[in-house]
């Protein structure tokens, strides 16, 4: 390498950002502990890319989940300075020259380093019957598809954009305090099916909604909608379900069935 090119390279290399990761290795540690890394700073570098740099060049034992790098797989959720973010959608330039503190998603058990156990979240997604329940199951395939107008689709489309990253569960203090709460993403998904014109399963799902662990554990903190990387607005879904649940209750008083 020629001597002339050196200054440009060295000024780039001089810029370093400190990344602190809360480590937890189940086979060795009883408690998580912070570990500091120095990563070459680049304004277009994402938190996920910083993690990949650490794994490739500094410590290959650091564990984290990732896949698509473009905010669609929902794998790389983590706490960045105590705020739930997608690693691929958060950038070093928004923190530099301050230190970045990374931790596994709050409210979930830490499996290892930045990897959490999402079992409870997945179980809740499955519990709310996340599939279309048609009015009759004797409609023949030859009769064609269930038609829907753009207006009918508009009613639920926003709530169907969820990528199951779990950031909203990390942002929800009610879920943190009581793991029985069905939670933001699962209730938004429930609203998505109840609001679908092709679905006739509302009565079945309202049993889940009406429970204490359903919408009524929500106290409208609203942070779930702030952290959602896809603009799903689970807080809105839950408030709309509260209205439905109240209607359900009132109708039930006069017309018990």
């Amino acid at each position: 390498m020629s001597a002339q090119t050196m200054p440009a390279h060295s000024t780039m290399a001089n810029k370093v950002i400190e990344v602190e990761i809360l480590r937890y290795r189940p086979e060795q540690d009883d408690n998580p502990f912070p570990q500091l890394f120095e990563v070459p700073y680049n304004p277009d570098m994402s938190i996920l890319e910083a993690l990949q740099y650490i794994k490739d060049h500094l410590d290959s034992t650091v564990s984290f989940r990732w896949s698509c790098r473009m905010a669609i797989c929902g794998s790389c959720g983590l706490m960045v300075n105590n705020i739930p973010k997608l690693g691929c959608k958060a950038f070093l330039r928004d923190y530099y020259p301050q230190k970045v503190k990374l931790e596994a998603l709050a409210n979930f058990p830490i499996e290892r380093d930045l990897v959490v156990d999402m079992g409870d979240f997945i179980k809740k997604l499955e519990e709310i019957k996340p599939y279309i329940i048609p009015a009759t199951d004797d409609k023949c395939l030859s009769e064609g598809t269930y038609k829907q107008t753009p207006e009918q689709m508009e009613k639920y489309k926003q709530f169907s954009m969820c990528i199951n990253c779990g950031l909203c569960y990390s942002a929800c203090p009610q879920y943190g305090l009581d793991k029985k709460f069905t939670g933001p993403a699962a209730l938004a998904l429930l609203a998505r099916y109840n609001r679908d014109s092709r679905d006739a399963g509302s009565a079945e799902r309202m049993k889940i909604v009406n429970q204490e662990e359903g919408v009524w554990s929500c106290t409208f903190v609203g942070y779930c909608s702030v952290v959602c990387p896809k603009g799903v607005d689970p807080a809105a879904a839950i408030q709309l379900l509260k209205v439905e649940s109240s209607k359900d209750y009132l109708i039930g008083m006069f017309k018990p069935d």
Binding site: P26, A106, E111, Y223, V226, A236, L240, V243
Partner: protein, 129 residues
């Protein structure tokens, strides 16, 4: 053999102090305590009214104590905070569509403020007359 040992982090009682968003939420919800106290004082006034003019006047003069005035100003401030934060959240609980498009949030918020002003003026007129 599995080496799994998931680590559950504890949530401390000061969780709402570590994030400004949570702190604002707790102030919004905590406002209910002061508003309850205000309602109890008001209810006490109605009870004193039922006991006759003298009792009611004693209640009225107790309200003029500096501590009472400071308390009522504090309640007014916190009730306004609750109102503003609540109105800003209102669009999330509204499910109105016009020509297939959801109604813009700012119209819902504005509607709340307009009703708030109308009701306030109406109450003031009723009290003054």
């Amino acid at each position: 053999m599995s080496k799994r040992k998931p680590y559950q982090r504890e949530m401390n009682n000061d969780w709402w102090l570590k994030n400004a968003f949570y702190s604002k939420y707790m102030i919004r919800e905590g406002s209910s305590i002061l508003i309850t106290l205000y309602s109890l004082i008001l209810a006490w006034g109605v009870f004193r009214l039922s006991q006759g003019e003298e009792a009611f006047n004693a209640w009225l003069s107790a309200l003029q104590h500096p501590i009472s005035i400071i308390f009522h100003l504090l309640v007014l401030l916190i009730a306004l905070y609750h109102t503003i934060t609540w109105f800003s959240l209102a669009p999330k609980a509204v499910d109105l569509y016009i020509k297939g498009k959801p109604l813009d949030a700012k119209f819902i918020v504005a509607g709340h403020y307009i009703s708030f002003i109308i009701v306030t003026i109406f109450c003031l007129v009723v009290i003054m007359l």
